[in-house]
């Protein structure tokens, strides 16, 4: 009789738990063949594990590849909305892809949790969409963070900046503003466009030689990193700092001696010493057996955790109730505190992070080390660098 009672109680307990648990299906739309996309997916899955382990919320993921291209992303989103019938989508890593998704998203009306897409063109595109939560800083936040670093370099004696910018939307969109802001700081600026992926920089770098730049600043893609680092040496340019701003760095670049002293900007590194970051690193290592330094991994993790909190607070699968709770979320993350506010331009209502999450790093002895701002630096900036 006792045994029967115990079993009955256990069954009732489990049934009660199941009743109390809110289950939501979430579409994940990421470029999973890229390092950043894979890292983001790993982070989302790690966060979902945490949420599901709590027992009150169960998140089920439906993962699709956006192919890092609008032509693949739009049908993938359509499938999520019409076949898998999800109400919530995590995605939007690349700006170009996310911009292309703005129309279909408005057509199907999901709660769209945007992990990347820094371009303010995307901000404009989603300006009239109330279910758009943008976690990543916007491009003007990126510029503000970089300018803070350049201000510090000016104080160190840097006066001339040579800017190499790729001639597509990514590199050339804000170049005039950027140039003006650097000039306002007191810099003399010379800027030249280039064709990303061409590998041909010797001519432009040769022309820069007469300008004798203190800083060589390139705005381009991962494919340009090694040719620029190599050809800067080959033409004898000898800047005091090579500073790059690609969305991702090439695999193995840190092992190449040409990367030494090259600086750049990221939102997070495993060496960032706050408790949430350390916790994330531990959990990530436990699940995947390695540590990543792609900041899209903790970004995905943060999105999943914040969504879990919102679903729990809403106690509902209704996307508008979840959105209302998500707007109130305040939590510590590996990047620092997260709370949603209207964007600085006022175009979108729910902006997560701003320029405060960015930190400057330098490739030193085979890995990326935070060097600026001082309160987050693991090592002092090597300036002038040895190129």
């Amino acid at each position: 009789m006792k045994k029967v009672l115990v079993v009955l109680l256990a069954v009732l307990g489990l049934a009660g738990l199941a009743l109390a648990q809110t289950t939501v299906r979430v579409g994940v739309l990421l470029p999973i063949s890229t390092v950043a996309g894979k890292a983001a997916l790993n982070g989302v899955q790690l966060g979902v594990d945490q949420v599901n382990a709590g027992g009150k919320v169960k998140i089920e993921l439906v993962v699709v590849d956006d192919g890092n291209a609008p032509a693949a992303a739009v049908p993938a989103l359509t499938k999520l909305m019409t076949v898998d019938r999800v109400d919530i989508v995590i995605g939007g890593l690349a700006s170009g892809v996310t911009f292309a998704l703005s129309g279909p998203v408005k057509q199907y009306n999901p709660l769209f949790l945007c992990i990347g897409a820094a371009s303010s063109v995307v901000e404009q595109a989603f300006s009239d969409y109330g279910r758009f939560f943008h976690y990543h800083p916007w491009d003007y936040h990126n510029v503000a963070a970089a300018l803070g670093f350049f201000k510090a370099l000016y104080d160190e004696g840097a006066r001339r900046v040579a800017i190499l910018y790729e001639d597509g939307p990514f590199g050339s969109a804000g170049i005039q503003t950027y140039r003006q802001q650097l000039q306002n700081q007191g810099y003399t600026v010379q800027a030249e466009p280039f064709k990303s992926g061409s590998g041909s920089f010797t001519a432009i770098l040769t022309r820069f030689k007469s300008f004798r730049p203190d800083i060589l600043y390139w705005i381009g893609y991962d494919v340009d990193a090694l040719p620029i680092a190599a050809q800067t040496r080959q033409v004898g340019l000898e800047p005091k700092l090579i500073y790059g701003a690609p969305p991702a760095w090439p695999l193995g670049f840190e092992k190449n001696s040409l990367s030494n002293d090259v600086a750049g900007m990221t939102a997070w590194l495993p060496s960032v010493s706050n408790s949430e970051s350390r916790r994330f690193v531990t959990l990530y290592r436990r699940k995947y057996g390695e540590v990543t330094d792609e900041y899209m991994a903790p970004m995905g993790y943060v999105i999943a955790l914040s969504l879990g909190r919102a679903v729990e607070a809403a106690n509902s699968t209704d996307k508008d109730r979840i959105a209302a709770e998500l707007a109130k979320v305040q939590m510590d993350t590996p990047f620092g505190p997260l709370a949603f506010k209207p964007s600085d331009t006022g175009r979108t209502r729910f902006q997560g992070f701003n320029q405060s999450i960015w930190l400057q790093f330098q490739y030193l002895e085979g890995s990326r080390r935070p060097v600026f701002p001082a309160n987050r630096a693991a090592r002092p900036l090597r300036f002038p660098g040895n190129y």
């Binding site: 063949s33 030249e192 064709k195 061409s198 041909s200 432009i204």
Partner: protein, 285 residues
């Protein structure tokens, strides 16, 4: 004057890798009669062979040149035997669509296997410089130039001094007559297509040192190679090196002397194709 000299050297050294890619393409066009849109993807395979040997066994890319050439010769031979040979008698449009399909397929296979990320090898000489007074240039582009000259010299010697080379040239000039003289046309095609792919593979190894390995690394060079063989005259191997030098010099001059010229570099080779084709059409009137 110093800037001009540096610009000329930059241009001439850049011509090395262009000539290496374009000579393989010219061989395929001139001998087999195939406009191979997948030629850049053969270079991409060469770049990945170099990368894989480097990360798995620490083999320096310059040492893996020979192996990459062998691998790509095999890939080219298999591609010819399995895919190209059946369409040799088909209309040219079918052939071009086939090679375009091979290009897309190879790129997507690379995407599936390696992902879309850029990968770099690490050697001690990538940033090395040779300085001659105030003029300086990198060791890798210089090595690529020397390698190109040596390989193309060997290729010209092979075509001009050996019986097999004579056979290749005979087949290039007339598809039917060499068969009547006992030359195995199909074997010559196989050899030429394999050599074409091997040259692309060697170029790919150099690209892995100078640039990176990625599924799209060969694409830009295929476009330039097309511009070069159009300027040289389709299938004219001897015209490849001068055409490569002209194209590379034009790019270097535009980059250096035209304000914002870095963004105009890609337009140079389209202009070259346009001018070459227009000039030819006027000449044959």
């Amino acid at each position: 004057m110093e800037l001009l000299l540096q610009t000329l050297i930059n241009g001439i050294l850049a011509a090395g890798i262009y000539a290496l890619v374009a000579s393989g393409l010219a061989l395929a066009v001139g001998v087999v009669g195939i406009v191979n849109f997948a030629h850049g993807e053969f270079s991409m395979i060469g770049a990945f062979v170099s990368y894989l040997l480097f990360v798995s066994a620490g083999i320096d890319p310059l040492i893996s040149l020979g192996l990459a050439a062998l691998v790509l010769f095999s890939v080219g031979a298999i591609t010819y035997y399995g895919l190209i040979r059946p369409v040799l008698a088909a209309p040219e449009l079918n052939q071009m669509l086939l090679t375009f399909g091979i290009s897309v397929a190879l790129q997507n296979i690379a995407l599936l296997v390696f992902g879309a990320d850029t990968r770099v090898v690490s050697t001690s000489y990538q940033g090395s410089t040779i300085a001659l007074g105030s003029i300086s240039f990198g060791v890798p582009p210089f090595a690529a130039f020397v390698l190109s000259v040596a390989l193309l010299g060997a290729l010209y010697w092979f075509l001009g001094k050996t019986r097999l080379g004579f056979a290749v040239r005979a087949v290039a000039q007339n598809r039917l007559a060499p068969g009547l003289l006992g030359i195995e046309t199909q074997q010559i095609y196989l050899l030429a297509f394999g050599l074409s792919a091997a040259l692309a593979g060697v170029a790919g190894v150099m690209l892995s040192v100078m640039l990176y390995a990625s599924p799209t690394v060969g694409f830009a060079y295929t476009l330039k190679a097309f511009a070069i063989i159009v300027m040289a005259g389709l299938g004219n191997l001897r015209g490849v090196v001068p055409a490569a030098i002209i194209l590379a010099l034009a790019e270097a001059v535009v980059s250096t002397y035209v304000p914002g010229g870095g963004g105009w570099v890609e337009a140079v080779f389209f202009l070259v194709i346009f001018v070459a084709l227009t000039w030819r059409s006027w000449r044959v009137r």
